[in-house]
């Protein structure tokens, strides 16, 4: 259903209650699958089922071709025998152990003599080696989070599970941790599953997205493809639709703008003083896109993208219509009124100009120099 044919991790969960579940997905190495949905939709239960902490009525969990759970054949590998790195929502550190003790607890697979140096190395990778002897209650929220991350990686997991990992820290700590996870994605060769109810996490971190509603997968697929779909009513209601794609910084203008190159041309966005060549993620909210059948003149905005309508989607009971516009290989979404559709006679195939204000473009950095220096390596 989601992603590759023989993924590193494949999961299928089904049960009617008490927590309803109906999902099937895969996740490959280097991918971050974000499970996004409202609280109570069963996100955490999915992670717990992968780790073997919860046993749904019908389940298959396969990692690297090995069955961890298969209710059909009665296979169940207990949690402590699954190579799972799990970062819990409230971190769940062992309060009676130091940061180092917490990490060492997960190093049981190494000979005694090697554990200390490995724990030190892991704490160094999350920049906490100087606080190795502190107990969890002597660490800040962000630091606890990083201990939890180091502990999850200590086991050399075959899959990394992150349960709302940024929910308990404030905004600016959150950004740093998101960067940390992004750095991990590039250096670790393993599938990562991120459970979140914060769309910001999805835009920043995910390569793939699974939208979950009451335990059911509403949609699942690669980030860019999914975010270009005009028909995700639930996502539209929750956060608003908007295309997400990658672009490269081409330089700055003298007027507080930066030039972003993407598949089908260039865009001007508010300058973030990023080095030329930086890869960024761009989100253009559908609500911020204006459509015109002719190239307008005398405008204050810079971004006029030429394309053609590829789909028109109406959600019952909501007036604004979602128009999908093909610009090169990019699929933009625009939210326009039914009145505008009628006046401009927009239908699939109609050539249009998509107008976007530079300040309406959300630019998200995905590699922020943390890269090699702070990344965690597995031995």
């Amino acid at each position: 259903m989601c992603g590759v044919s023989e993924p590193r991790l494949s999961v299928g969960l089904r049960q009617a209650g008490p927590i309803p579940l109906d999902v099937e997905f895969g996740c490959d190495a280097g991918q971050v699958l974000a499970i996004f949905g409202p609280s109570g939709s069963g996100k955490t239960t999915i992670l717990r089922s992968i780790a073997g902490l919860y046993r749904p009525d019908h389940a298959t969990v396969r990692s690297n071709g090995v069955a961890w759970t298969d209710t059909a054949s009665g296979t169940f590998v207990p949690p402590h025998q699954r190579a799972v790195g799990f970062v819990f929502q409230e971190y769940a550190l062992f309060p009676h152990l130091t940061a180092e003790g917490n990490v060492t607890a997960a190093l049981g697979h190494l000979p005694h003599a090697d554990r200390r140096s490995r724990a030190d190395q892991l704490l160094r990778s999350v920049r906490l080696h100087e606080k190795a002897n502190r107990r969890p209650q002597e660490l800040s929220g962000g630091e606890r989070q990083r201990v939890a991350l180091a502990r999850a990686l200590a086991r050399e997991p075959a899959v990394l599970l992150l349960d709302e990992p940024f929910a308990a820290v404030d905004r600016h700590v959150r950004r740093g941790l998101q960067d940390e996870v992004n750095a991990l994605r590039r250096t670790l060769d393993l599938p990562m599953i991120l459970v979140t109810h914060d769309f910001d996490d999805v835009v920043r971190l995910a390569t793939h997205v699974l939208l979950l509603e009451r335990g059911r997968a509403v949609a699942c697929g690669p980030m860019t493809t999914l975010m270009s779909r005009p028909d995700l009513a639930w996502l539209r209601e929750a956060v608003g639709l908007g295309a997400v794609f990658e672009a490269t910084v081409r330089g700055s203008t003298n007027h507080g703008l930066m030039l972003l190159g993407f598949d089908a041309g260039t865009l001007l966005a508010a300058d973030r003083r990023l080095p030329t060549g930086t890869t960024v993620r761009v989100r253009i909210p559908a609500r911020e896109v204006i459509l015109a059948t002719h190239r307008p003149e005398g405008l204050s905005l810079h971004n006029v993208l030429v394309g053609r309508v590829s789909a028109v989607h109406r959600d019952p009971g909501i007036d604004p219509v979602i128009v999908q516009v093909e610009v090169g290989r990019l699929l933009l979404l625009a939210e326009v009124t039914q009145d505008a559709i009628d006046r401009l006679r927009l239908a699939p195939g109609t050539p249009v100009h998509a107008l976007v204000k530079s300040v309406s473009i959300d630019v998200v950095t995905t590699d922020s120099g943390l890269g090699a220096r702070d990344s965690v390596t597995t031995t």
């Binding site: 717990r48 402590h80 769940a92 607890a105 049981g108």
Partner: protein, 222 residues
Amino acid sequence: MDFVALRVSLWLGAGTILILLPFGLWLGRLLALKQFRGKLFLEALLTVPLVLPPTALGFYLLVTFGARSPLGQAFQAVVGHSLPFSFQGLLVASAIANIPFVVQPIQRGFEAIPSDVRDAASCCGLTPWQRFTRIEVPLAWPSILTAAILTFAHTLGEFGVVLMVGGNLPGQTRTLSIAIYDRMQAFDDRSAGVMAATLLVLALATLMTTTALSRRVGVRRV
């Protein structure tokens, strides 16, 4: 001061802890972590010794372990003599009377461990036994110690059950609390006073230790 009685009391306290602690760990943890049918009834049953008059408890123990009962005969077959009026009998009675003092604090101790912490231990690759010894017991440690101390103190002070089951045999079943009663009956107020003071000091020391420990539990929880 009846030092023989003091020795019997201390031995009884230590023996009761030794018997009850493993049982209390097993049962307290079970009650803390598992949901099962009849749990409410079991919890009530385990608390009965706390509210039942010690004489009534002693009566039931005598009936249960009497020479004519199957349990009494089994006890006799193993130990060699009947349960009533022997130190071993006293030990069994004391263990039963102290069940709530051991099980309840241990249960609360295990209940206080967040389930995520236990799950995290499993996800760190710790086997259930390693999880128990390296995570759960250290976290529940103050509660376990409280249980042991409370049991010890309570055993020292037990009167009704001891008198009913054990009687008043010097070196066998005459504990300090019985000896006080015995001395008072003989108008030996001075000896009774010394022994009562000994028990008072022990009780105070115990309560102070448990209070200090329970404060520590509060500090440790994150």
